[in-house]
């Protein structure tokens, strides 16, 4: 492992937003120039099918991995997991709210809020850092963090480069490969790669030109927008309420009776109903406008304003889910079923408990327009 650079994959924003594209390209080219990391770019992660070139590329990567994308870190992590790109959760400083929730000892009440999930299976011993590119418009924020991660992961790149030139930095990645010949230039990291003619202009870090060539997007053509649920197995308790509730056959179980998203393309675009009925808040729709559904860590209030929706007749999460499901059923030419089918089992027997402040808080959160 010694000498291996940190691997960074940038997942592009869907669409052609020039501001976002520029941020992606800035990060990619600066990382390539500085030699901090092996960088590659794939189309929007969530839209990739399991057999898409970009996803196959991700699966082929070994070792620690940083994935930057326009999604909440939880969404990035579990989209990767569902496609077999697995790893331990790496903690980035850019996801502060995120990591404290996940990694610290939970306060007593949190046990009810986030039941222990069944976890992912066959997780290899490597770290995956998921970083949301919506954190900051400044590319330097991400560069600094990747440099910090690179150092903290104790990749002995600097010393080896100094001694042996840049010969140890290549690990077979197609996008960036520095020349392997010995190089007496001690500052190999910053400008050593310009020494040989066979290296492309993208690596010409001696030039101060601000427009070096950005990495090619792996499998960038014709990626169709998709919509499907992603299960966060760190939260999922395998209760099967989503399986009971969804009437479009999206969910199934594997050979060991673990819940899984089986027919993702049966899912109805825009419908997040199963996410609302999930008692563990474990179902993520990465593109939904409500942060709690899109994979934000719960509880953050963006705005100091009070939400009065509850007062003015907001439906409960369950009522909303039933409504959304009915709309999709009718659109499919089927009959609306209302509350008659697949309602969560937890609703029975709970009514005697008096409501307390926590109930109100949870209901309040639910209707917050985050």
């Amino acid at each position: 492992m010694a000498g291996r650079k940190l691997t960074v994959v940038i997942s592009q924003a869907p669409g052609k937003n020039p501001v976002k594209r520029h941020l992606e390209e800035e990060i990619a080219t600066r990382l390539m120039l500085s030699g901090t990391a092996e960088v590659s770019v794939v189309p929007h992660l969530y839209d990739l099918t399991s057999d898409h070139t970009g996803m196959l590329w991700l699966k082929s990567l070994k070792g620690n991995l940083v994935v930057l994308g326009w999604l909440y870190p939880r969404a990035i992590r579990w989209v990767l997991d569902r496609n077999g790109v697995k790893g331990q959760v790496g903690e980035s400083r850019l996801n502060v709210a995120e990591t404290t929730d996940d990694e610290e000892d939970p306060p007593e009440t949190a046990e009810d809020l986030a039941p222990q999930g069944i976890g992912s299976l066959n997780v290899p011993n490597r770290l995956i850092f998921a970083i949301d590119l919506r954190n900051d418009p400044d590319p330097q924020t991400y560069i600094s963090e990747i440099e910090r991660l690179s150092e903290s992961l104790a990749v002995p790149l600097v010393q080896l480069s100094g001694l042996f030139g840049s010969s140890m930095t290549s690990n077979g990645h197609p996008t960036v490969s520095t020349n392997g010949s010995p190089n007496t230039n001690g500052a190999a990291q910053t400008n050593g790669s310009a020494a040989k003619g066979e290296i492309t202009a993208a690596h010409d870090s001696n030039s101060n030109s601000p427009t070096p060539q950005a990495p090619v997007v792996i499998g960038g053509e014709n990626v169709r927008r998709r919509w499907y649920p992603v299960i966060d197995y760190s939260r999922c308790t395998n209760c099967m309420e989503c399986l009971d509730f969804c009437l479009f056959g999206v969910y199934g179980v594997d050979l060991t009776d673990r819940i899984l998203v089986e027919q993702e393309d049966n899912c109805k675009k825009g419908c997040p109903a199963c996410s609302r009925v999930c008692p563990a808040n474990a179902i993520v729709f990465p593109e939904h406008k409500t942060p709690a559904i899109a994979g934000a860590e719960g509880g953050a209030v963006e705005d100091f304003k009070i939400d009065l929706s509850k007062l003015f007749g907001a439906p409960s999460a369950l009522e909303m889910a039933v409504q959304e499901r009915d709309v999709e059923l009718v659109a499919d030419g089927r009959d609306a079923v209302g509350t008659a089918v697949g309602l969560p089992k937890r609703q029975s027997g709970l009514s005697e408990k008096p409501r307390d402040a926590l109930d109100d808080l949870m209901d309040g959160l639910d209707s917050l327009d985050l």
């Binding site: 705005d303 939400d307 009065l308 907001a314």
Partner: protein, 153 residues
């Protein structure tokens, strides 16, 4: 539109929320007053007191649309609060108050008359003023808790 004869009063702390007896109510804090063969619907004084100065009102459905109870129909933002707007009952939203689209402050200035929100056709039975005040009394503790909880986050 109408000369108000009499009102009940619900005390929100020291604030007197006036609840006219000449009309009927939805428990989601809207009044309804007959206008031809439809009902004119607006915010009660209780709702307006919680909202305070309304800055922005947006409807997400077209006039003359059938709606289900609790269906999302719009958004409102005030100096203190935001809220989604929901249909108060099954029925049909016949038309919106055009005057509010330019100047939603009419909701604050004249909530029981010129600040009406939309005209609504429904067969749902509504509450009398006395019944609505009972709803307010029953819910006041909880409303205060809801507000405090959100402030404490």
């Amino acid at each position: 539109m109408v000369v108000m004869t009499d009102s009940l009063v619900f005390l929100m702390g020291k604030f007197e929320a006036r609840i006219p007896v000449d009309r009927r109510y939805f428990e989601s804090h809207f009044w309804a007053f007959p206008a031809g063969d439809v009902l004119r619907v607006g915010f009660t004084a209780y709702a307006v007191r919680l909202l305070q100065d309304v800055y922005f009102l947006d409807w997400q459905i077209d006039p003359d649309t059938a709606v289900r109870r609790k269906q999302t129909i719009g958004e409102i933002e005030s100096s203190k609060a935001v809220s989604t707007m929901y249909a108060p009952a099954d029925g049909k939203i016949v038309r919106f108050n055009e005057a509010l689209l330019n100047d939603p402050s009419l909701i604050n200035a004249d909530n029981y008359d010129r600040g009406w929100l939309y005209e609504f056709a429904t067969t749902t039975p509504l509450l009398a003023a006395e019944e609505y005040v009972k709803v307010l009394e029953a819910g006041w503790e909880q409303t205060q808790r809801l507000l405090k909880n959100q402030f404490n986050e």
